[in-house]
C-alpha cells in the first residue's frame, strides 16, 4: 500500500486489546535497573571485596571485574528468561519446585534465601560499621565509639540495627521500600560523583599530604602515615595494568562475592506482554551489571591516580595484618577520598554515601519473605507464616526472619568458632542459583507447554534454546566458583566446620519439607497435588 507524502508511514496493528483489568502500558527499565544496581552494590559489597584482592597473588583486579562483569550477562539472560516463561511466580523457589520438584525447590530456596540470610545480617552489619559508624564516629572524635564497633558488643549492636532496619523496610511494604530505594539511589549517586570529583581533581601529592594530616588528627595514626602504610606493601599484588590471565581468573570467584547478585530481585509483576519485556529485564539486570562494572573500573582508576595503586593495596594489606595507620579502622576508599575537604564536609559526603547501605539493607530479608509466603501458600510452612495484619504487615514472617538472625548475630559476635561456621554463606546462595540455572536449562523439555507459550521460545542459538545455552554458560561460571570456594582456602569459604554447619541447614530444610508432607498427608492433604499438572486433553 502506497504511503501518502506527509502522512506517517502505516504501521500494521498486530494486536487489538479491549478494556480489561491488568492491561498496563509497560514498565520502566530504569526502575528495575535501580533495584539491580543496589543488589550488586559497588559501595557496600564492591569496595569491601576489592580490599581482599591482594589475597590472590598477581591477579588483576581491574581485569577480573571486567571479565566477570561481562560473563555474568549470561546470568541475566537465564533469569530474564525464567521471568519471561514464569512471571509473577515468586522467584527461585517456584521455578525450581515446578521444574525440578517440590523437595529440591524448597530445600534450595529456604537455605539460599531464608536461612542463609540470617547469617548475612552480621555481614551486612560489618559493612554498616565500617562504612557508617566508624568513619562518622572518627570525624566526630568519638574514639570509644569507633573502637566499640570492632568489639563483639559493637558487632552485635550493628547486627541488631541492621536486622531491625531490614524488618522495618519489610513492614512498610514494597511500595514504601521502592520509594526509599529511589531516594537512596539518587543520593548515593550524587555522593559517588562527589567522590569521583574529589579523586579526579586532586593530585597524589595532595592526597599524601591530606592522608598524613587526617591519619594523625582524626585517627591518631603515626606521623608520615602515607610512607608508613607503603612499608606494608604486599609484593604479591598485581600492578594495576597487570594481565596475568591465570591469576586473574582465580580472582573471579572472589569478585563474585560482589557481582553475582544482579538477579536478586528477579520477579516481575504485571503481565508479560512479549519479547520486549524479556529484553527489558535483560537491560535492567545486565545494565546494572555493566554500569556497576564501569563505575568500579572508574573508581579503581581514580584510586590509582590519586591515592596510588601501591598505597591502596598496602593500606588494605596493613589493615588485614593489624598494622594500619588509621587505628584499626578499615581504609574505606570513600573516607580516604574525603580527606581533601573539611571534617564537616567529610561527614556529609560519608552520610550521603551511606545511602548505598540504607537502600540495600532491606534486601537481606526481602526475598526471604517471598520464599516464606510462597512455601506457606504451598502448605509446606504453616498457614500463619504468611499471615498479614490489617495494614498488610507480615508480622510472623518478619518474626521468623528477625528472631533467628538476632540469635545468630549474637553467636557471630561473641563466638569466633561460630563465626567461622558462617564462612560458606555465599556458597549456599550460589548453590541456590545453581538449582535455578539447572531448572532453566531443562525447562524447554520439562515444561514444554509453558515454555512454548512464552515469548522466548523463538530465541535459539544453533537450534538450542537460548535459555539452555545461557544456563550452560552460567553453570560453568557457578561450577568454577563453587569448586574454587570449596578447594582453596584463600576465598575464606572452604572451612570444614562451616560445610558441616551448612549441611545441617540443608538437612533442617529437607526435614521441614519431609515432615510437612507427612503431617499434611495425615491431615488428608497430598502435597504432591500442589505441583501436579492437570492434563489439558
Amino acid at each position: 500500500m502506497a504511503t501518502i507524502a506527509g502522512e506517517p508511514p502505516y504501521q500494521e496493528r498486530s494486536l487489538f486489546v479491549r478494556k480489561a483489568t491488568g492491561l498496563v502500558r509497560g514498565w520502566s527499565v530504569h526502575d528495575a535497573f535501580i533495584y539491580a544496581t543496589f543488589s550488586i552494590n559497588l559501595i557496600t559489597l564492591g569496595l569491601y571485596i576489592f580490599a581482599d584482592a591482594p589475597f590472590i597473588p598477581k591477579g588483576s583486579l581491574l581485569l577480573a571485574i571486567i571479565l566477570s562483569g561481562a560473563y555474568l550477562v549470561f546470568q541475566t539472560i537465564v533469569y530474564a528468561a525464567l521471568i519471561a516463561v514464569m512471571p509473577r511466580a515468586g522467584g527461585d523457589y517456584v521455578w525450581v519446585s515446578r521444574v525440578l520438584g517440590g523437595g529440591i525447590g524448597f530445600t534450595l530456596a529456604v537455605c539460599g534465601w531464608w536461612f542463609i540470610n540470617w547469617h548475612w545480617v552480621p555481614i551486612y552489619a560489618n559493612i554498616l560499621s565500617k562504612e557508617f559508624f566508624q568513619p562518622l564516629g572518627a570525624i566526630l572524635g568519638w574514639n570509644g565509639f569507633v573502637t566499640f564497633f570492632n568489639e563483639p558488643k559493637g558487632i552485635f549492636t550493628a547486627s541488631v540495627i541492621t536486622a531491625v532496619l531490614a524488618a522495618f523496610f519489610i513492614s512498610i511494604g514494597m511500595r514504601g521500600y521502592a520509594r526509599l530505594q529511589k531516594i537512596c539511589f539518587y543520593g548515593g549517586m550524587l555522593g559517588l560523583l562527589i567522590i569521583f570529583g574529589l579523586l579526579l581533581f586532586h593530585s597524589k601529592s595532595a592526597f599524601e599530604s591530606a592522608f598524613n594530616h587526617y591519619a594523625v588528627k582524626t585517627y591518631h595514626g603515626p606521623p608520615d602515615a602515607y610512607a608508613a602504610t607503603l612499608k606494608s606493601t604486599y609484593h604479591g599484588a598485581s600492578p594495576l595494568g597487570g594481565l596475568a590471565f591465570g591469576s586473574t581468573i582465580l580472582l573471579i570467584p572472589m569478585i563474585a562475592f560482589f557481582n553475582l547478585w544482579s538477579n536478586w530481585g528477579a520477579t516481575l509483576y504485571g503481565e508479560v506482554r512479549g519479547a520486549s519485556d524479556f529484553r527489558k529485564n535483560i537491560y535492567a539486570m545486565a545494565g546494572a551489571l555493566v554500569v556497576t562494572t564501569i563505575l568500579a573500573v572508574i573508581f579503581i582508576l581514580l584510586i590509582a591516580h590519586t591515592m596510588g595503586w601501591n598505597f591502596y593495596n598496602s593500606a588494605n594489606n596493613a589493615w588485614w595484618n593489624g598494622k594500619d595507620a588509621l587505628g584499626g579502622v578499615w581504609p574505606y576508599p570513600v573516607t580516604l577520598a574525603t580527606f581533601f575537604v573539611s571534617p564537616w564536609l567529610q561527614f556529609i559526603v560519608i552520610l550521603l554515601m551511606s545511602l548505598w547501605f540504607f537502600g540495600w539493607v532491606g534486601t537481606v530479608f526481602l526475598t526471604a519473605s517471598r520464599v516464606i509466603f510462597a512455601s506457606a501458600f504451598d502448605r509446606i510452612l504453616p498457614e500463619w507464616a504468611a499471615r498479614v495484619d490489617r495494614r498488610g504487615t507480615p508480622y510472623y514472617a518478619i518474626l521468623i526472619m528477625l528472631g533467628p538472625s538476632l540469635i545468630i548475630s549474637y553467636f557471630y559476635a561473641y563466638n569466633s568458632t561460630f563465626t567461622s561456621w558462617t564462612l560458606d554463606a555465599t556458597l549456599v546462595i550460589a548453590v541456590t542459583f545453581l538449582g535455578s540455572t539447572v531448572a532453566a536449562g531443562v525447562l524447554p523439555w520439562r515444561k514444554p507447554e509453558i515454555y512454548n507459550a512464552s515469548p522466548i521460545a523463538k530465541y535459539k542459538v544453533g537450534g538450542v534454546p537460548l535459555i539452555t545455552v545461557a544456563a550452560i554458560a552460567f553453570l560453568a561460571f557457578l561450577g568454577f566458583c563453587i569448586y574454587k570456594w570449596l578447594q582453596d582456602g584463600v576465598y575464606g569459604s572452604n572451612n570444614h566446620d562451616s560445610l558441616i554447619y551448612m549441611g545441617c541447614l540443608y538437612a533442617v530444610a529437607l526435614a521441614i519439607y519431609v515432615g510437612s508432607r507427612i503431617v499434611r498427608r495425615r491431615q488428608g492433604m497430598d502435597l504432591g497435588m500442589v505441583y501436579n499438572e492437570i492434563p489439558a486433553e
Binding site: 520502566s28 504485571g270 512479549g274
Partner: protein
C-alpha cells in the same frame, strides 16, 4: 465435600480444558470458576496472498507458509487466551479505522468461544455428577451470562445462592472501581448493597456458607496489585504494590463470617488468609502460561475450613 476453585482464565483454552478435568484430577465434587473467563486481545492472521500469511504474537512475528503452520499459530494464540482471526491487509486497515467494527468482532469471537467452552463442558462432564459453576467477573461482558445460563452442565452463579451438598454458595463477579472502567464495577456503597442483597438470600449457617466474590477483600494480602502511574505504566517496575481490594467485600466477610470466601481479580496476589473465622483464598492466575492456578478445599461443615491446598496445575 471437595470443591475446586480457579479463576481469571481470561480466554485461555488450555486453562479451561484443565478446569474441566480438575474434577477427575483432584477428585472434586464441585468446580467453581470465579470469573474473568474471556480473553483480552484479538490477534490478526494476515493473508499476504499466494498461500503466505504473517502474524505477531508476544511481539514475535511469524511468517506462515502452510495451512498447518497457520493452524498451529492460531492454536498458540488460543492457548494464550487471545482470539485469532484471519484477514487481509485491506480488511485489517478498515478494522483499525473503525473501533466499533473491531469491538463487534471481539464480541463475536469472545461469545463464540464461551459457547464452544459450554459445549466442551457438556461433552466432558455431562452425566458425571460433577457440578460446575461459573460466575463471570468484572472483565466479562453481560452477554456471557446468557450463554452460561443456556448451558446444560455449567450453572450460572452470578447473584445467586446455590445449594451444594448441604452448603450454600453466594456469588458475584462485580468489583469495586478499577482504572480500566470494566463491565461489572461500581462504587463501594453500591457494591456493598449488591453483596448484602445476595447474602440476604443465604439460609445456611456461616459454617455452611461459601462466598465466591471475584473481588478480594481490602488489605488482605490477596489484593496487592502493582501500583500504576498516571500513564498506566507499572510504577517502580511493578515492585511497588498496593492494596486494591474492596472494603465492601471485607465488611461483608467480617460481618457474616462464612466458612470460606473465594476470590480472584488480582492475578499476582496468590495466597490465603483468615479474616476472623473465614478462610479467604485467591489462587491467583497464570493463564498466559496455560498454568491453571487453583485451590482444592475440603468442607466438613465445622466452624473453620482446615483442609485446603493451593494448586498449580
Amino acid at each position: 465435600m471437595r470443591l475446586y476453585f480457579a479463576t481469571d482464565i481470561h480466554g485461555s483454552e488450555t486453562c479451561w480444558r484443565k478446569f474441566l478435568n480438575a474434577g477427575k484430577h483432584y477428585d472434586a465434587d464441585v468446580l467453581v470458576l470465579g470469573g474473568d473467563m474471556t480473553g483480552k486481545a484479538l490477534v490478526p492472521v494476515i493473508d499476504d496472498g499466494g498461500g503466505r500469511w504473517h502474524a505477531t504474537l508476544l511481539e514475535n512475528r511469524s511468517e506462515l507458509t502452510t495451512e498447518d503452520e497457520v493452524a498451529a499459530f492460531e492454536d498458540a494464540v488460543i492457548r494464550r487466551g487471545y482470539y485469532p482471526f484471519r484477514t487481509d491487509p485491506v480488511m485489517l486497515r478498515r478494522l483499525e479505522e473503525d473501533e466499533s467494527h473491531w469491538h463487534g468482532l471481539f464480541q463475536e469471537k469472545m461469545l463464540e468461544t464461551v459457547e464452544k467452552w459450554m459445549r466442551m463442558a457438556d461433552e466432558r462432564l455431562g452425566g458425571t455428577g460433577v457440578r460446575v459453576f461459573c460466575c463471570p467477573g468484572n472483565d466479562d461482558q453481560f452477554e456471557v451470562d446468557e450463554i452460561i445460563e443456556s448451558a446444560k452442565t455449567v450453572e450460572l452463579a452470578e447473584g445467586r445462592v446455590v445449594d451444594i451438598d448441604g452448603f450454600q454458595m453466594v456469588s458475584t463477579g462485580w468489583s469495586n472501581r478499577t482504572p480500566w472502567h470494566t463491565y461489572r464495577e461500581e462504587d463501594e456503597p453500591q457494591l456493598r448493597e449488591r453483596l448484602e442483597a445476595a447474602i440476604a438470600k443465604v439460609t445456611a449457617p456461616p459454617e455452611r456458607t461459601v462466598f465466591s466474590f471475584h473481588c478480594p477483600p481490602y488489605h488482605s494480602g490477596l489484593d496487592d496489585a502493582p501500583e500504576l502511574t498516571a500513564d498506566m505504566d507499572l510504577k517502580d517496575a511493578g515492585r511497588a504494590v498496593k492494596p486494591v481490594g474492596s472494603t465492601a467485600v471485607r465488611e461483608a466477610i467480617e460481618e457474616h463470617q462464612p466458612a470460606l470466601s473465594l476470590h480472584g481479580h488480582i492475578h499476582e496476589a496468590r495466597g490465603n488468609t483468615r479474616i476472623g473465622r473465614t478462610l479467604c483464598i485467591n489462587p491467583g492466575s497464570s493463564y498466559e502460561q496455560g498454568d491453571l492456578l487453583g485451590a482444592v478445599i475440603d468442607l466438613d461443615g465445622k466452624k473453620k475450613v482446615k483442609r485446603f491446598l493451593l494448586t498449580s496445575g
